[in-house]
Structure formats: C-alpha cells, structure tokens
Symmetry: C2
Subunit: 343 residues, 2 copies
DNA sequence: ATGAAAGCGCTAACAG
DNA sequence: CTGTTAGCGCTTTCAT
C-alpha cells in the first residue's frame, strides 16, 4: 500500500493524506483521524527511499567499522554502544547503516558515502590520537559525532568520552593508598586516544608521589587475552616484580588473572588488579573483577546520548557542536587487595 | 555532482551516461571511456535513494538483532559473521542495515521494514527451535537467509549451519575414547536450535555405548562466564563428579576453567574440557583451549557465503532455496587430557 | 482545509 | 548507438 492507493481509498488527495500523516496543522481533526486509522488498518508505512528523495535526507546514520584492526568488532563494549545508539535512531526514525572498511580505504569510503547520500551523518568510534577521520568529515561537510576524542583536532566537533586520565589517576592513587609501590600498567595501543590518556593519568599519579615511571612495568599492545597473559607472566618473573596491575581492558584482564594464578599467587592477597573498561557487558553477571564504569551507567547510555547529539546536529545543522565528558565511578571488588605484608 | 550535471558536463543525455555507467552494451567504447573517466574525476556516485526508487530495490540487507537476550550482540562470533557478510554485500553494492528489536516486536518490525521497503532481504541470526521469524518472512514474501536452522520450518528456505550434532557426537566419543565415563554437558539454552542439536549429538554418543543420560551433569543456560563457573563448581562438588566437560561456548569455558582451577584440579590431567564454538575470534591468539571450528575456516567465511546466498536470492527470486551444512573439524589442545588414572 | 502539480535523481521503455 | 519521456513514491510550493 502506497500513498496514492491510500489516498484513493480515502477519497482524498495525496497531499492531504501526507499532511495528516506528518502532523501538519492545516488538516482538520476529523480527516486526520480518518487518515491515521486507515493507515494503520492498511499497514501503511511510507517508502523510505521515496521520502528520502523528496526530503533530501537518507534517514540513516553510518557506522564505519575498521577491519584491519580486528579490535573494534571484538571489543565487548561495541555491542552495547550500538544498542544504545540504535534506540535513539529508532525513536527518531533513522536506520543504522553498517559498513566495514580497511583502514586505508576510509577516506574513499567517506567520500563515496557522501556522494551516494545514503547516510545523513556518521558516528565515529575508536579514534586514534591523530585521527584523520575528523578532518575528512569536516572537509566533506558531513555531520558526525565521535565516541571518544581525537586529540589532534583543533576545531570543535561533537564528541562524548569517559574521563580516562582521571579514571586511571584515581585507580593508581587507590593502589598507592593500599601501599603498593610497584604498579604495572597494561595498556592498549597508545596511539589510540583513550590509551594515551590512561597512561597520562597513571603517570600523573605516580609523579605526584615522587615515584619513578618505570618502562619495565608498562606495556601497550592490542588488547587480547594472550597479551594480558604473556605480559603479566613476563613482569612477574622480573627481579623487582609488580605487586599490582592496572589493566586497560576486561579481556586483557582474563589473561592477567590466568598468569597470576599460574604463578601461584592469590588475587587480593599477594597481588592487586584493577581493570578499567567502559563497560562490563561481558561479565555483567560476575562480580569478581573490580571495575570503573562510566557514571552514566553504561556504554549503552553513552551510545544513546551520542546518537541523539548526532541526530540533533543533522536536524539543526547550524547549532554549535556538543561534547560530554563522563566521569568514571570507582567500584572495588574482592580482588583488589592491600599490598603484600600490609594486611 | 548528480547525473544531470554530469551529463550536461559531457554534452550527453542522462540516459547514455547512465547506460555507460551501468555497463549496458549499447554504448560505444569511446563514449563509455569518456563517461567513466569524467565520473571518476568529478567524484560522481549515483544517489542510492534515487536509484532505489527507480529500480524498486533498496540496495540494503537488514540484520535484526534481538536485544531482550543480550546474548546475541555480546557473542564474539557476531562480529566475525557480519564482517564476512559485509564483504559480500560491499562487493555486490549492498549496504547493511542494522536494527535492534525486542523479541516481542519482531513481527511488527518485519512488517514495517517490508512496507517501508528499505531492505531487499533479511539475514536471520540465532534461530530458536520453533522460530517464528521464518514463517513471518515467508508470509511477507521477503527474501531471507538463516544462519543456523529453525527446525520447525517445513518449507524450504536458505540456510547455512555447522553440523552441531555431529560435532558434539564426535567430541563426546573423543572423551569416551580417552576413558571418561562421567562427561558433563554445559550447553546453551536448549530452545535454541544449535543447543538442541548439540545435546542430541551428546546423547547419541552416550547411548551408542550404553551409557545412561544423567541430567545431574547436564546444564542449559544463557552462555555467560558466570554460568560456566557456577555450574562447574556445582557439579564438581557432587558425589559422583564428572571427569570431563563438554562446553558449548568459549565464554562459558572461561568460567569452567576458573572453577576447575579453584577446585585445585589440573586441566588435561585430573580433568578434560572440550569447548565448541563456531569460531575462536576471541582467543585467536591463544591456543590453550581445544576447539572445533567450522571447516570453512571461520564464521567470517560463513557470513560471506550466506550473504552471497541471500544476494543471489534477491537477484534471482525464482531460484530455489539453497542450504549448506558445514562439518566441524576437531582440533585437540593440551587441556584435553585422558581420564584420571589412565595416563 | 484541501487539491493540483512540480520535482527530488535515477532507470527503463520506446523512438529514432 | 543515442536521446526523449515517463515514471518510481513522496514532499512541497502554490492555488483555491
């Protein structure tokens, strides 16, 4: 059933029916009611492409997932984020268009999407320190919003981020307060913005207490379980082994915990571990790992907010960019114990 | 730059330019060459909505993710699957439209998508035993393909699945050959088709050797780490505890392993564990868990194949439905050890 | 308050 | 081989 058929069925013009359906004021209440019920009864929904062609809007938001670094997709927070974003999109009548792209084709893809006009805006995930995507999108005049921040960008743009440096500074202080002197940092790749900031917070806390930054107990790598395992095992076998670990991802922490167990050490007794991740979707039902979580309850909420920001931008292109910095909230679990000999 | 502008720029009609671009044979080679280079130089890409409106095709495939059971999104195989599907889509010029839906709104959503005509087909993931989606889509006349199978469906449809029952039968036999008599099954929710089939394979193998099916050492639940942990701990504390575990997901296996370690048992020595998952994306860099993997190398390949099947169906709607059953390949790792006292 | 008609950008008969 | 023309289904002036 299309608009023409519906209008013929009602004995009205397409115009009136369209206006009634879209809430224009110049339609009488009686006709509007008739139109709305008829539409419902006949299972009428406007054809998105026709509507888009007429309005110059695609009614879709693009999410581009880089595939060269598997990282993004596998990240357990990914699912929650797009679940939240999807809620906002659905409420506003937008679809979510997913595209997978090699890192080195990203610019071509953006240009193509802009030309094809099949998305009204793009949501950028996992920005690197000097992320080029921000510049490209600004260039293209394509509305966008970033989950995280791209430090290199100079002009204003829409973003939402967790306060990563503060979170790691507080986590480090927390461990220092417990008496730890050797705190290892097992970080993500530090060309990524979030990882860079996390390291900054860690170093700030150490420096503030006059402690040295020791590269021997700092690691940065793609966040896999294996990475957590090997780096922890490696550091534990060093002469001056760390007594605490600050871990940048819950996935990595699985490996960390395994290495600790294999070394015959007891979590929360011989050793302390704090894991930071934006969300805990993977372990939602397990409380054994202490966590920072964003105060806005979860990454899902972040997705919802950021998507709304992008929709607002699309709806009102002249409005200034918006950004939100969420504070992480410390949650302490059983495996965060005091430093050895300080029980 | 749109078609009109491009054609004016070239001094040709829109028709000729369109034909040249779309590879129609009745265009001279000279003109085609001219058109193609001009298109490239001017960064021309056809407007998807206009093209869709004219062709009656949306150039998009829908992936609907149920959100009531978080399960789907979090599942690590999810990412690989859509990565593979995305490749096929991109090659054929299709976009991927993602929608999140509550389980109980799925029919409404399907009807709406069919009416809006913003997807040409739907890819169904994670089918349950008596999945209604197959029937609804057949009803709507919407092309679709299923990753897995919906056992209840009587008419033919497109699907691709791993041979779950054979895989679990072989895994069970493998453990039986090692001398195990008490093999626990830690399965997914058994209203899901894959879990139902897996249990079938397990029971077949036991029955073939005249062993009893013991509900005491069988579990079925949402596949979380905690579930693996608690159910394993529970079963290990039973009087006649299992000496081997057959686990239905790599995530669950993390919990299983933790419970085993906590019980002071040694993997591959006191106890055996076999984990089945369609893919190993999460632990791609870790070899410590034995796995079945689909012979087609990975779920990514499955996504690629199934997407292509769907595209073929859309392109040629009269062709009969296609299905593929992939055999799992047994891969044995260090933690699959002999039964206790049989070294 | 309602309708007629133009047009969004493209494809696909139909002509030549 | 190339061009003219009529839609695809909707929104949106412009009339009435």
């Amino acid at each position: 059933m299309n608009l023409k058929q519906l209008s013929e069925h009602l004995g009205l013009s397409q115009t009136t029916v369209s206006r009634a359906l879209n809430g224009y004021p110049e339609v009488s209440d009686a006709t509007r009611k008739k139109v709305l019920t008829a539409a419902r009864l006949n299972n009428y929904s406007p054809n998105t492409r026709a509507k888009g062609l007429a309005t110059g809007r695609a009614w879709a938001i693009g999410h581009i997932i880089p595939i060269s670094t598997k990282h993004e997709m596998v990240n357990p927070i990914f699912g929650d984020f797009i679940a939240g974003a999807g809620e906002s999109y659905a409420a506003a009548g937008f679809d979510m268009t997913l595209r997978l792209a090699e890192d080195d084709h990203i610019e071509t893809l953006y240009r193509e999407m802009a030309a094809k006009r099949n998305v009204d805006g793009i949501l950028v995930q996992g920005p690197a320190m000097d992320d080029e995507r921000v510049h490209i999108l600004q260039d293209l005049g394509m509305p966008f919003a970033v989950h995280g921040r791209a430090s290199s960008a100079t002009t204003a743009y829409n973003w939402l981020d967790v306060n990563n440096s503060r979170a790691f500074e507080r986590a480090t202080n927390f461990l220092l307060d417990l008496g730890h002197q050797r705190i290892a940092l097992i970080n993500g790749l530090e060309h990524m913005d979030f990882a860079y900031r996390r390291r900054g917070g860690y170093e700030t806390a150490l420096s503030a207490r006059g402690l040295a930054i020791d590269p021997q107990i700092m690691r940065a790598h793609e966040m896999t379980e294996r990475y957590g395992y090997t780096s922890t095992r490696d550091m534990l076998s060093q002469p001056n082994a760390p007594t605490a670990f600050l871990v940048s991802s819950i996935i990595v922490a699985i490996g960390v915990r395994r290495a600790i167990e294999e070394a015959g050490l007891k979590m929360g007794q011989d050793i302390s571990v704090i894991t930071h991740d934006d969300d805990i979707s993977y372990f939602r039902n397990g409380e054994e790992i202490p966590l920072f979580t964003a105060t806005h309850s979860s990454v899902r909420e972040a997705g919802r907010i950021l998507a709304q920001i992008l929709i607002d931008q699309i709806t009102n292109p002249t409005a200034p960019p918006v950004h939100r910095l969420l504070e992480a909230q410390l949650m302490v679990g059983q495996s965060t114990g005091p430093a050895p000999g300080r029980t």
